[in-house]
Symmetry: C2
Subunit: 173 residues, 2 copies
DNA sequence: TAGCCTAGAGAACGACCGTTCTCCGTTCAA
DNA sequence: TTGAACGGAGAACGGTCGTTCTCTAGGCTA
């Protein structure tokens, strides 16, 4: 079923760029070229579409990160490249949580799962619980700074990367 | 004019807890006890009310932080207390930016101003540009972690505080 | 050809949004 | 006592939302 794919591609771009509540189902239909009837056959509600969007985003985002970053320094180099993309608009999961976390339990869960997966990956890189927590904080913090002030995104990524190096060294000592 | 005060108190609680778009003007009216007519006399549009909410939140949040935290360790102790409050729901500015940053220039500006003020305050504590960037990243990152997974909020604050201590020491060396 | 199933286009529906307007009771000056 | 300004309650308005329904055209089977 390629319809779901087309829908998720269109919805993903729109939801990420403008926010979930700012995008109507009819706009997803127009951008995807899929009829409204089939849209609701693929995803029985907007919430289902949002959850699918987040799950797909999780898969792709994590796949890109894990394929490119094989050590701690690589994570922050990858972040700096991401922050520099012209359609970067912060963490799609944090944004979705801020919009819908108070309303939708399903959204809350998928965001939590994503952050847990990210932490697990970092944990695998450093093999220390507290350091993994600290790296997760650095990643999310740099992403927030880059979103609010895109011009300082690269600087934030590098500052966070330096912090990660110092913390990793301190942890080994 | 106490009406504006009542409106901002009600709107602030609702906007922060549930998100801006999830709260209608009529709900602000009901929660504040101020008539709709006067609401629009005080704030000529919802956007104006949102901007005023964020500006007030900036003032109070920064005042609480600066009054309580006189050094770097104090910042993260203050964060841990904040994360433990039962109505904590992450950074109101990041949430508002995720919802409205793509739409409203005024919201974008007030969020940027807030983050710049926060960075300036941190910069005053440590007197080093890169370290100030790193502390800002730690603060925002810990806030994201605490929002997404409230049970780990205290741990995130402490991990970030330990990271700040290590980074501060490394910077002085 | 005749009948039937599908699927798309988009109208329709009910709810709710931000915003404005109407009505009516009160207050207060003359 | 009259009348005019004010203010609150909430109806009204135009628009949009998520979701469902209708209509029509086309392709398949018999």
């Amino acid at each position: 079923m390629e319809h779901a794919e087309r829908l998720l591609t269109a919805a993903g771009e729109l939801f990420y760029r403008r926010g979930v509540r700012a995008v109507g189902m009819d706009e997803v239909r127009a951008a995807s070229g899929v009829s409204l009837k089939r849209l609701y056959q693929c995803f029985p509600s907007k919430e289902a579409l949002v959850v699918a969007y987040l799950e797909r985003r999780d898969e792709r985002w994590m796949a890109s990160l894990t394929a490119s970053a094989t050590d701690v320094a690589g994570v922050f180099e990858w972040l700096e490249r991401w922050f520099g993309e012209d359609d970067f608009r912060g963490c799609g999961f944090v944004n979705a949580y801020g919009e819908l976390g108070a309303t939708s339990e399903a959204v809350r869960d998928v965001v939590r799962r994503h952050k847990r997966r990210l932490r697990d990956f970092l944990r695998g890189l450093v093999d220390d619980e507290v350091l993994a927590d600290q790296l997760l904080v650095l990643v999310d913090g740099a992403t927030v700074t880059a979103m609010v002030d895109p011009e300082r995104g690269a600087a934030a990524a590098r500052a966070a990367g330096r912090a990660a190096r110092v913390l990793t060294a301190a942890c080994r000592a």
